[in-house]
């Protein structure tokens, strides 16, 4: 510890070289933090939903098969179910968007009961309930698209064969990590429009989102749901909200392996870079190290001094990179409209502190690994030969 000032003096001896090394490490660790942070963010999102005690009920064959709306009433009678709403994903085309933003046909009051962690001002809720063609939107997407109360939103049917004209009746809000990029409108409105076209899929819903009284009820309720509809024409499958969200990230593919391999390559490259810089730095100080040893510093101490130096440089870079990534993502999610970006969970991307800490740990490992050989060589410098060296 008493050698810390000495270590720092050496670190900042050649500011240019240290600066470049630190920046090089910082850039690469920024990237690694970003990549790992995304994976961690997805996991967190899924884990977070666990606290809300919700189940998603879909057709056993998956999301593209629809359930009869009668299932909803039957689900509401199951013991332990506090509230249930249908959620039919509409997928309508808005203006020139290449991918639809999230739009759901729901039961207004039930929706607020199931998602009770989200807030909607009471007057807006009552206005929405009165207005058949009304909708409420999340504050984030409203902010990015500039929607205000009373605005008309036209959605061209891409999945469903009907076009909808909706009026913005309110804005729902929630915590920092809530999905505030959705639009909810009345299922009754969708169904009426489908019936008017004599569509064969009128009277059908996409899935049901329900909330149980407590976490303990979840497995039993799920079991009851599947048993209840097992021999029906439309057998159902119940899974936790967590599992449901995981399904979407799983669809993106074996990204984990790709990210890990990229991160590994980057770390390897960094060890080379940092080791190079350390070696260059030490080459210039052979005489100095010989002097240290001559005045009595032990091999072990010299080893630790050099390792400490490479550790300090790497940690500086790691700190910059990890912090930069965490802040960068915070700014990105706040200021950019990510509702159009085709990656589930990107609009609530938030790098957990533990990932930043992990990146810092990685930096420390890089510092140690890259300093090992130069430190060993420095410790082994022969005093006499070292003192003789001109450089």
């Amino acid at each position: 510890m008493k050698f810390l000032p000495y270590i720092f003096k050496n670190v900042f001896r050649n500011k240019l070289r240290t600066g470049f090394t630190v920046l090089s490490i910082a850039m690469s660790l920024f990237l690694v933090t970003l990549l790992y942070g995304f994976l961690a963010s997805q996991e967190n999102l899924a884990a977070q939903s666990a606290g809300y005690n919700r189940l998603v009920v879909t057709h056993r064959q998956g999301l593209t098969s629809l359930l009869p709306v009668a299932h909803l009433d039957k689900l509401r009678t199951i013991e332990g179910v506090k509230a249930a709403t249908q959620m039919s994903w509409f997928g309508g085309k808005y203006k020139d968007d290449r991918l639809p933003f999230t739009q759901f046909a729901v039961d207004a009051q039930a929706m607020m009961n199931v998602f009770d962690e989200l807030t909607l001002p009471a007057d807006q809720l009552s206005q929405w309930r009165k207005d058949t063609g009304g909708c409420v939107v999340g504050t984030r997407i409203a902010h990015h698209r500039g929607w205000r109360l009373g605005d008309k939103i036209v959605l061209k049917g891409a999945f469903y064969d009907v076009d909808l004209e909706l009026t913005v009746d309110g804005f729902y809000d929630g915590s920092e990590t809530a999905d505030l990029d959705m639009l909810w409108f009345h299922w009754a409105y969708l169904d009426e429009s489908l019936k008017a076209k004599r569509s064969p899929i009128a009277g059908l819903i996409g899935m049901v989102m329900l909330k149980t009284a407590s976490a303990d009820d979840l497995p039993e309720v799920a079991r009851q749901i599947e048993a209840r509809f097992t021999s029906s024409d439309a057998p159902a499958r119940a899974m936790t909200e967590q599992a449901f969200q995981q399904m979407f990230s799983e669809m993106v593919g074996n990204v984990q392996a790709f990210i890990r391999n990229t991160a590994l390559a980057v770390v390897f490259a960094l060890v080379c870079v940092a080791a190079n810089a350390m070696a260059m730095s030490l080459r210039e100080r052979t005489r100095e190290i010989a002097v240290l040893k001559a005045i009595g510093f032990q091999r072990g101490t010299v080893l630790r001094l050099v390792l400490g130096e490479s550790l300090a440089i790497a940690l500086l870079g790691g700190f910059l990179g990890a912090l930069g990534a965490k802040l960068g993502v915070l700014a990105l999610v706040r200021f950019a409209d990510l509702s159009r970006f085709p990656l589930p969970g990107i609009n609530v991307f938030d790098i957990p502190w533990i990932t930043a800490l992990y990146a810092l740990g990685l930096a420390a490992a890089i510092g140690l690994a890259s300093g090992l050989v130069p430190a060993w060589r420095a410790a082994g410098v022969s005093v006499v030969a070292g003192l003789r060296k001109v450089v």
Partner: protein, 388 residues
Amino acid sequence: MIPLRYNLRSLRTRWVTSLMTILGTALVVWATVLAFGLGAGLDHTLEVSGGPLDLIAMRKGASAEIASIIDRKVARQIEETLPGIATDENGRKLCSPELVVIVAATRSSDGGRTNLIIRGVTSAARALRPGLRVVEGREAKPGLREAITSRSVSKRFRGAGLGEELEVMGSKLVIVGVFDADDSAAESEVWTDLAVIAEISRRKGVVSSVQLRATGAQALAEIKARLTGDEQFALKAISEKEYYAEQAIAGTAIKTVGWIIFVFLLIGAVFAMANTMFGAVVTRAREIGTLRALGFSRASVVFGFLLESLTLALAGGLIGCLGTLPVNGLSTGTANWVTFSEITFSFRFGPVVLLQGVLLAVLVGVAGGIFPAVRATRMKIVDALREI
């Protein structure tokens, strides 16, 4: 001009540093080329799917086949009454009604679940996709619960291997053959008989789309006009190229990640290269002073150093690119949010991607080497010669 041998010899003298720098650059180029190769593979699959005269008809407003329903009678009318449809050598019209459903499937590698496209076809579908050939096993017999699928799907999904049974909407389809579809969209699909899938999915009397080939560009335009304008059809009719272009957004996530990796690693590598070159300049101050005293111009010294950094970078770039070869053609898949199912594609390290890797190396060499090189010549010759 300083003789090249001097610069190359210098690199060899400080071989440890040179090696570390080359290795670092190689890894950076490797990671970037890999990311770009992924994006290129996805683009390729979406491009080759669809001949220039091929047209796909779906329900008006449908974003993809899974969202489209066309009555079979209408499909028959298209085939029988529309002029301008090409025919094959046997005189049979190249017009194929197809029924598409998607089912949940499990990946063999990590147990992850995603959706697979099951396409119900008639024999006309094969004529429209001449690039599709069964390479293992045999064709699926019409009317039986049999299916064929691509090599990639058969390897990557449980129950989709040759001889295995794939669960489709409560029924089972036996995979009797494996095909090669020339990297087109069919590589992501499982093909079976139209009647079989209509029965399994309880959708008799409808199809998802009608695909056809026009006799020429003029015929294509006329067919498009009739299918969209005529009351009896009122469908969405677009060329297959357009259809797949609409799905190109599937690659956006991967390509963005590729560019992010590129930018960050580029900057990181530039700093690393600059470090190496600065170190070289400082150590060789006396050499530089000597060279200048001998009469070599400032420019030639700068050029010499740039050459060194470029050599290191390009050597790294070459190794990095070569390192991607084992991965070339490796197939993988990701979610196509337009069809809500898996799109299969392979890594593709074509000339463009490799060029991007080389460009990265060149940028690293030049950007990393320019400042040290210029710095090298700033010292007064007298001071430089005094350095030790």
